[in-house]
């Protein structure tokens, strides 16, 4: 596991992950593939997902003994950040969440195909908007399943007594409705059918909590990548666009705006990296919750600020569909509240980080 690596090896491992992301994120921020997949079903490329499987990304956090790469959150966040910069639509974070649950359940039936990117398994845990709680009501519709039309399998947490059992329901024949999302993807609503499902584990409550935290943190990292990229595009524009016979980047009002955005991005990076390091060092329970919530609250709010301002600083061209900066705003609209809104994470932070403690 990552903790066994010394610092130098660790940095090298993170650098390698970043470099390997270039396999699915074209250099120079080319987004043609992303545009072509918008509002199609399933909205991602199965070939690319398999490629992600081959590179070990889906099982990045899964122990090596179970077929994963056994790497840490430092690596996962670095990868998510690179994918965010390229607006990669394949549902890596939801698949990684499912992989964590299957691994915790000791499953050997579904996990290998999921890790290989051959089959998509989505965890249908959510019953209402803006929550990190999985009530597990057996017949409650499960909401907000990202890219659900591409799933082969749904994992259903179901409350049984004091425990949260895990069932697997095949997607074929499932009662699933989809709604389009701003980023070109979609959310599914699944009406569970336990009759056609098989039980995988008696209690995944703690594993699900931990997996949702990791998904929230990876989402923060994805948002960070998007911010960095949209901000870089905006800086380029400020350095080239001319009005009043001058480069607009010479106007002090815009210089200060850009400086303000840079500070929010720096805070987001610091927060995400600190959380990843804390979790890799073994933070659990309240310590884990506090670190993750801090990062996700910051990333959600900073991403919306940065993306809104990137449109503003572009003027009219920023409000067109053909110009890429708008795609980053749309992605942030979807991810800012996924795995908990900024407000939810602020509340959770206050509840899990008593004042005056480190």
């Amino acid at each position: 596991m990552s903790a066994a690596l010394d610092d130098g090896d660790r940095l090298e491992s993170i650098r390698m992950i970043r470099d390997s992301a270039a396999a699915v994120v074209p250099p120079g921020g080319e987004l043609r593939r992303v545009r072509e997949l918008r509002w199609q079903e399933p909205g991602f490329d199965r070939g690319v997902l398999r490629q992600m499987g081959e590179m070990g990304w889906i099982g990045l956090r899964v122990p090596e003994a179970q077929g994963g790469a056994g790497l840490g959150l430092g690596e996962l966040c670095a990868l998510a950040e690179e994918l965010g910069a390229g607006l990669v639509p394949e549902p890596l974070i939801p698949c990684a969440l499912s992989a964590a649950l299957l691994a915790a359940a000791g499953d050997a039936e579904h996990l290998p195909a999921l890790l290989a990117g051959e089959r998509v398994a989505l965890t249908a845990w959510q019953e209402r908007a803006d929550t990190l709680e999985a009530p597990g009501a057996p017949d409650a519709p499960r909401r907000f399943l990202p890219m659900a039309a591409g799933a082969e399998l749904f994992l259903l947490p179901v409350r049984e007594g004091g425990r949260l059992a895990l069932y697997a329901q095949p997607a074929a024949g499932a009662d699933l409705a989809t709604e389009r999302t701003q980023d070109g993807g979609h959310y599914g609503t699944l009406r569970p059918d336990l009759g056609g499902a098989s039980k995988l584990a008696e209690d995944v409550g703690a594993a699900l909590e931990a997996a949702l935290d990791e998904a929230a943190l990876a989402t923060a990292a994805y948002l960070l990548g998007g911010m960095e990229r949209a901000f870089a595009m905006t800086l380029d524009y400020l350095k080239t666009r001319q009005q009043f016979g001058r480069i607009i980047g010479t106007f002090q009002a815009l210089q200060h705006r850009a400086a303000d955005l840079k500070m929010q991005i720096a805070l987001t990076r610091a927060s995400v990296e600190a959380a990843a390091a804390a979790l890799d060092a073994g933070a659990a329970g309240d310590a884990r919750r506090a670190a993750v919530s801090r990062a996700k609250a910051r990333a959600a709010e900073a991403a919306m600020l940065v993306q809104r301002q990137c449109i503003q600083l572009h003027g009219g061209i920023g409000y067109t569909d053909q110009y890429d900066v708008g795609l980053y705003l749309r992605k942030a609209m979807v991810l800012a509240n996924q795995y908990g809104s900024a407000a939810l994470h602020r509340r959770r932070f206050m509840a899990s980080a008593p004042e005056g403690e480190e």
Partner: protein, 389 residues
């Protein structure tokens, strides 16, 4: 209860305000097409012309124009009431550049002949106008525009390109700022020209905006011949008139309309997602509501000036900034409380009143068009506050 009678248009201004409000409600109840309430995006002409023509028929099209030119001549307070009731009812915006911008300009600067030619056709809905100012390299720096008009005999020959022209696909007339003197200082060689969009040589190409809607356009001019009597005011004096018109545009954008609409939707959403009773939310909502009330009061001050026939000063920029940024803060708040629903492409639960992402996106360009808010702040700091630079 007795049905409320709707008096003829010329009497509307003399009703007491509360009575007027009831009349507007009744008017909308009787006349506004049900299927056009709260449309998810800006309507094209073919979608809203039924309503436009009905307004025209009833004489209600131009609330702010003086009565002698066919308007309702409404007091500032009544204009605000009208706006409020339109918002409450979910009345769609029509292509209104003729009503809001060109009409007032012609009334102020046009010849008697131009008033006779153009005003009745705005009132009848025969002429739908669009605004051709911005160019690819002349946005904030509008005076850098290069589309030129060269006088040849009785015609101006126009060549060049406009961009971001809202609803140019729907309009049959366009008002243009064109360069008529390339030698003069850049503000002094610009003229104001009215152009029939069916003239040969004009090409309109729609641009898809962030709402995924074909609302604005590029408009190309290739040797377009325009009768010289279509020039408004003096040749090369178009800039001053355009600046006066920007005042009208700013007060129009500064009207509490968008913010009032958005705030009412924020409330519906808060109730729907269950945060309405939340104390922290109540405080945020109270702030936004107070901002809206104070914006309405400030708007009233400017409308009153207009009614007294006073010119709007550069300080009207405040109104534009305050309104558009309030509109944005309200829609930002919608996103923040909506959870995953914030990311939906279409209205939540198929309910047009819960068009969360759509409204948020619509609020984005409000700080860009009509002179960006950065430009408004430059105007405020230089021309109102007298700061050097």
């Amino acid at each position: 209860m007795d049905a409320i009678a709707i008096p003829p248009p010329e009497q509307l201004d003399s009703l007491d305000d509360e009575h007027f409000r009831q009349v507007v409600r009744e008017f909308l109840r009787q006349n506004y097409p049900e299927h056009l309430r709260n449309p998810p995006h800006r309507l094209h002409w073919h979608e809203c012309k039924e309503w436009y023509h009905r307004l025209a028929e009833k004489g209600w099209l131009c609330p702010g124009w003086p009565k002698e030119h066919g308007g309702l001549g409404l007091s500032p307070i009544k204009q605000i009431i009208l706006t409020e009731e339109y918002e409450r009812h979910g009345v769609a915006r029509t292509p209104d550049h003729g009503i809001v911008m060109l009409g007032p300009l012609v009334i102020r600067y046009g010849t008697e002949e131009q008033k006779r030619r153009f005003l009745p056709k705005i009132l009848s809905g025969e002429h739908i106008w669009c605004q051709g100012y911005s160019e690819p390299n002349a946005g904030s720096d509008l005076a850098a525009l290069r589309t030129e008009a060269v006088l040849e005999g009785d015609h101006y020959v126009v060549n060049g390109q406009k961009i971001w022209t809202t609803l140019a696909t729907d309009a049959n007339w366009i008002f243009l700022l064109v360069r008529t003197d390339k030698q003069a200082k850049k503000q002094e060689g610009i003229s104001f020209l009215l152009v029939d969009m069916t003239t040969p040589g004009i090409t309109v190409r729609p641009i898809i905006n962030l709402e995924m809607h074909d609302e604005f356009c590029e408009v190309f001019f290739d040797n377009v011949r325009v009768p010289k009597e279509n020039l408004v005011g003096q040749p090369n004096r178009g800039w001053d008139m355009a600046k006066a018109l920007l005042g009208f545009e700013r007060i129009f954008i500064g009207a509490p309309r968008q913010s009032a609409y958005a705030l009412s939707r924020l409330r519906l959403l808060a109730e729907r997602v269950g945060v309405w009773e939340d104390e922290a939310f109540q405080d945020r909502y109270a702030r936004l509501r107070l901002d809206l009330e104070d914006l309405k009061a400030l708007y009233g001050v400017y409308v009153a000036k207009l009614r007294r026939g006073e010119a709007l000063g550069p300080d009207v920029s405040m109104l534009k900034v305050i309104q558009t940024e309030l509109f944005q803060r309200i829609t930002d708040t919608m996103l923040e409380i909506a959870g995953e629903n914030a990311g939906l492409m279409d209205p939540m639960e198929g309910n047009r009143d819960l068009n969360i992402g759509g409204l948020f996106i619509q609020a984005r360009p409000a700080t860009i068009y009509g002179g960006s808010n950065e430009i408004q702040r430059n105007i405020l700091s230089k021309n109102v506050l007298g700061l050097p630079g």
